[in-house]
């Protein structure tokens, strides 16, 4: 006959996992049970030999390197995954233009779409948008007056973005700031929409192309809208609805 305690309680005692009350109970039991004493000794010696055998096996250094590299690769892939989205947008934007204008414009559009891919990775715009929402990062110049915001950019960039206050249309101008996209400084206009913020990134249009109608998109739950007008490229981004963002785009395009 084996003592039933040797089957379970003894192990909890050995591992220091019994609460004070049960540990005390078991110690009392030990005083009268030679079987449990013998078993406890045996278990302790087994544990000692397991420890002295040094069975723990550490990961080889090469494995850590491999894992780091793989994670870095996964990141790069994720960062480039927006490219096909832009291609798709290129095609649908071209279709919109085809409907609106002559096929002349279509050819130009398709030919000039490529620079957009390089200049405005949506990911980068989203990152900049998220960054701007950190406390104190939204505006460098805080003013609802377009005649304050516009001159503020003077001398800070090699271009002046068109600035309009659209408070009457439900998009009050909140201010402006400088941000960095693709390694170059760009102007950002900040608009409000009820309790939301909208960042409008503006940079000179190098394509010398005809104006392009607003092209919407969604990524990571953010709405964005890209268009060209007044010799500038615009990318608006926010968590407002797509129609709201489209309205703003049209107002700024006028």
């Amino acid at each position: 006959m084996r003592c039933e305690h040797s089957q379970s309680l003894l192990h909890g005692y050995l591992d220091g996992e019994l609460d004070a009350l049960r540990a005390e109970e078991f110690e009392k039991h030990l005083e009268n049970c030679s079987q449990c004493i013998a078993q406890l000794e045996e278990q302790e010696s087994l544990r000692t030999s397991l420890i002295s055998a040094q069975l723990y096996e550490r990961a080889p250094n090469a494995l850590a390197m491999k894992i780091k590299r793989q994670i870095a690769n996964a990141e790069t892939e994720a960062q480039w995954s927006w490219v096909p989205i832009w291609r798709w947008i290129g095609a649908s934007a071209a279709f919109a233009v085809l409907v609106a204008f002559t096929y002349h414009a279509v050819e130009m559009m398709l030919a000039k779409r490529a620079p957009v891919v390089e200049q405005a990775a949506v990911t980068e715009v989203i990152d900049a948008h998220v960054r701007s929402l950190q406390p104190g990062h939204l505006t460098d110049v805080l003013s609802t007056d377009q005649h304050t915001v516009k001159p503020w950019f003077d001398g800070k960039l090699d271009y002046i973005p068109p600035v309009k206050d659209l408070a009457n249309n439900g998009f009050p101008l909140l201010g402006g700031r400088l941000d960095v996209l693709n390694g170059r400084s760009v102007a950002v206009l900040v608009y409000g929409r009820r309790k939301h913020f909208i960042n409008v990134f503006v940079w000179p249009d190098s394509s010398q192309d005809a104006a392009a109608t607003p092209t919407p998109g969604t990524r990571n739950g953010y709405q964005w809208n890209y268009w060209r007008a007044h010799g500038m490229e615009f990318c608006a981004i926010s968590d407002v609805s797509a129609p709201d963002l489209h309205d703003l785009a049209e107002l700024l395009q006028e």
């Binding site: 089957q7 192990h11 909890g12 996992e17 045996e42 087994l46 723990y56 096996e57």
Partner: protein, 183 residues
């Protein structure tokens, strides 16, 4: 895609437990080479799931994923696994005693290693987590999905099996009394 500070957090919280991940995998799949593959795979899964990790015990969280990867691997390689022999050349030596003591220690180590490897996976994992990794019962319960109330009895059974195997091996050298009947 993870945001940059998530990646940073992953490197700070999860990557330091690579040894724990490897040790568990090595004892479950019983091969260093296969353990490397399984851990690499498990780490990438952990990385993808990291957004779902809301603080707490990062080691237990990672080991849970590693354990699942090991069982998936063992299911797939069940037939091959039975014939996988332990590679003694990789594990030899690394100690600084006299040649005689070293030889005795090495053979004692071999004996324990073989005994541990011959246990069923469910016994192996609790012993490795408790005796090698030093996990608490609570952590063992989290990692292995055993109810916390039965961790103690599972460990008791595993230890008894190990003792029996060691006794058997001492009595008739080379015997595989408890040999791999369950995975």
């Amino acid at each position: 895609m993870l945001e940059l500070d998530d990646r940073d957090r992953f490197e700070r919280l999860v990557m330091p437990h690579q040894d724990a991940a490897f040790n568990l995998a090595r004892w479950l799949v019983r091969s260093r080479t296969d353990a490397e593959d399984v851990v690499q795979d498990a780490m990438m899964r952990a990385y993808r799931f990291f957004a779902g990790f809301h603080g707490g015990d990062a080691r237990a969280w990672l080991l849970q994923i590693v354990r699942n990867s090991c069982y998936t691997w063992m299911d797939k390689n069940r037939k091959a696994e039975k014939t996988t022999e332990f590679d003694e050349t990789i594990h030899a030596g690394g100690r600084s005693e006299s040649p005689e003591t070293a030889a005795v220690a090495a053979s004692e180590r071999q004996r324990l290693m073989k005994a541990l490897e011959s246990l069923p996976a469910r016994s192996r994992e609790v012993l490795v987590l408790r005796e090698l990794e030093g996990c608490s019962y609570k952590e063992i319960a989290t990692i292995t999905s055993i109810p916390i109330g039965t961790v103690m009895s599972t460990l008791a059974r595993a230890r008894e099996r190990l003792q029996e195997t060691l006794r058997g091996a001492a009595g008739e050298p080379g015997s595989r009394k408890e040999a791999r009947h369950e995975v």
